[in-house]
């Protein structure tokens, strides 16, 4: 699900870049403050490991194959913030050195694979572990975490594509969701196998994960992401349901000639003004979306904290 360049509109990839860069920069600071040098070196080796493990291919269906992604596995073993950074490094290397995923689309790819994936994986695993700390619960939890991370990340990518007006929501979510629900089985089984191996050989590595203080963070970030998604969706609806006058005229007049553009080449009169406006509108919508989201998230979190403080006093 590496989105290449040119597929997302500016109204999607610019906010995605800003949002992902913000989250990861915060994560980098948290990790720097939280972990010792030794642990950071360890984390860096784990990044190389996850990258290497992505060579693990497994057959999916109809002769095709998927490969291990590792977001949930990283989140289970390393904790939320280190896992996000590790996955971000993996995704960034793929874009930089292998042209797997675009540069303008890097923000969006980081969002789906380095933020949403580990977040979902961590949340599911922590929940399962709270229910029971037995072996079966942990294995089932790892499976569910990896499957969920895979599917939700794919759905997030589908939503980004839809926000860019690339495909109808139904078609793109169905295509991405179904395919990754299949791949997710392999991902889940391998992650469960990994967890089972660790439980048998080095259970301390998994027990360490429990002590990482991120349960509260998981909840906060999940709420924040939900709000972002809602606001971004509504803002982009507002932006797209009111085409401006030029675009309207273009739709009326231009459609008759559209079939020929491929062959005829330059038709600057109608293409540039319309698109220039659309891009500008998209960027503005993105900025408005980010600001509104930030304000809402801040208000929500402060409200929560205030209420909790009140409850504490009683």
């Amino acid at each position: 699900m590496h989105i290449p360049d040119g597929m997302l509109e500016a109204r999607t990839w610019i906010p995605a870049w800003i949002g992902s860069a913000g989250v990861l920069a915060y994560g980098a600071r948290r990790v720097r403050a939280m972990l010792s040098d030794g642990t950071i070196v360890m984390m860096a080796v784990m990044a190389a490991l996850i990258f290497a493990l992505q060579m693990l291919n497994f057959p999916v269906a109809g002769g095709t194959s998927g490969h291990f992604a590792g977001g949930a596995a990283a989140a289970i073993v390393l904790g939320l913030w280190p896992a996000m950074l590790v996955m971000a490094a993996v995704v960034a290397i793929q874009a930089l050195l292998f042209a797997d995923g675009g540069i303008t689309a890097l923000g969006a790819n980081l969002f789906t694979m380095a933020i949403v994936g580990p977040l979902v994986g961590r949340a599911v695993y922590v929940t399962a572990r709270r229910v029971s700390s037995g072996r079966t619960a942990q294995l089932a939890g790892s499976f569910a975490a990896a499957w969920g991370a895979c599917v939700v990340a794919a759905l997030a990518a589908a939503v980004l594509l839809w926000l860019s007006g690339r495909a109808p929501l139904g078609a793109v979510t169905a295509a991405m969701g179904l395919w990754h629900a299949l791949i997710g089985i392999g991902e889940g089984a391998i992650t469960a196998g990994l967890a089972g191996y660790l439980l048998a050989v080095r259970p301390d590595l998994l027990a360490d994960a429990d002590r990482k203080p991120d349960a509260a963070v998981v909840r906060k970030v999940a709420i924040g992401l939900g709000v972002i998604a809602l606001v971004a969706a509504s803002v982009s609806f507002l932006a797209s349901s009111n085409p401006d006058g030029l675009e309207y005229a273009y739709e009326q007049v231009g459609s008759a000639f559209e079939g020929m553009t491929l062959l005829e080449g330059p038709m600057p009169d109608y293409v540039v003004p319309g698109i220039a406006n659309e891009t500008l509108a998209g960027v503005l919508a993105g900025i408005v979306g980010v600001v509104v989201t930030g304000v809402l998230a801040y208000a929500g979190l402060t409200g929560l904290r205030a209420r909790r403080a009140e409850e504490g006093q009683r």
Binding site: M42, V45, L97, A99, T104, Y197, L205, T261
Partner: protein, 297 residues
């Protein structure tokens, strides 16, 4: 010449590879002196001659540019491509000519870059075929003759595919013409957070080692249980992942100890300290001009 041990440095030039001067002009791996003493058991020090990375050891004017120039230039060019409406014929030709000229100047194999950048097409193609469905209420006009609406849909498909492919080619040009260490140093100097650059540098350094370990684990599994399928196969792959995880964890501890013993204090030194020269300025101006031409035309 009689076989001699593969040594680094000689009394006259401390710290300098004795054969350094001979490396100019071709990938380091072509040199026989690297192979004389290496008889299978000695691990390879250099990138494999068929690997993509070995292309970064070519000598060319593009390879000599500052890594920052190439990263920024490629990003600007990609921005131009991404922000423009579906590429028109003139724009596509301009881009193709530009990329061909750069590839030739960089003395890189065109065919290899083309096949490798075509790897974006499967995913891009899927979405590119879905996209016309959303254009003005569905424009795939499969049954009838190609109407104007279908043409509009195809235009979107072309837009997605061409932009994805051109952008991927730009990035591959950077990746093939810049050594890994220079690329990472440039990222650091472009203010990417240090923790992050460290993760990137560890990936490039250790992925070969860990990938090799993974391959041997898998070979061991296949040779002992060649008929594994389905759930059992996935479970074994999981055990392999877990095994490699534990090994890497322990390797990480050793690496950290080694780094500390060599004076690691928590920050990685930047080793590349080149300055931007006039060629870099020229290159950036060219990239910016092309990007503007494509975006605004």
């Amino acid at each position: 010449m009689s076989p001699r041990p593969h040594t680094h440095g000689d009394p006259g030039l401390p710290g300098v590879h004795r054969e350094e001067h001979r490396h100019a002009g071709q990938p380091a791996h072509r040199h026989p002196h690297h192979h004389r003493a290496e008889t299978g058991t000695v691990p390879h020090e250099h990138a494999h001659p068929t690997s993509f990375e070995s292309l970064t050891y070519t000598v060319s004017p593009i390879h000599a540019l500052d890594a920052r120039t190439k990263i920024v230039g490629a990003t600007v060019l990609i921005l131009g491509v991404v922000l423009t409406p579906p590429l028109r014929l003139a724009e596509a030709l301009l881009l193709a000519a530009l990329l061909a000229a750069l590839t030739a100047t960089a003395r890189l194999p065109v065919g290899r870059l083309v096949t490798r950048s075509a790897a974006v097409l499967p995913f891009a193609g899927t979405i590119a075929l879905l996209a016309p469905l959303g254009a003005d209420g569905g424009s795939w006009n499969i049954g009838g003759l190609m109407s104007a609406w279908a043409g509009g849909g195809l235009l979107i498909t072309w837009g997605i595919l061409s932009k994805a492919w051109f952008s991927a080619f730009c990035m591959l040009l950077v990746a093939a013409s810049t050594r890994r260490a220079d690329l990472l140093g440039a990222l650091r100097r472009l203010k990417v957070p240090e923790v992050f650059v460290m993760l990137l540098s560890f990936i490039t350094r250790y992925v070969g080692v860990l990938g090799e370990q993974l391959r041997s684990l898998r070979t061991a599994m296949v040779s002992r249980a060649p008929t594994l399928r389905g759930r059992a196969l996935l479970r074994s792959l999981g055990s392999i992942a877990g095994n490699l995880f534990v090994r890497s964890y322990e390797r990480g501890e050793r690496i950290h100890a080694a780094m500390v013993s060599r004076g690691y204090t928590g920050t990685l030194p930047i080793t590349t300290r080149g300055r931007l020269r006039s060629a870099d300025i020229l290159f950036m101006a060219m990239a910016a001009l092309s990007a503007f031409a494509i975006a605004l035309y």
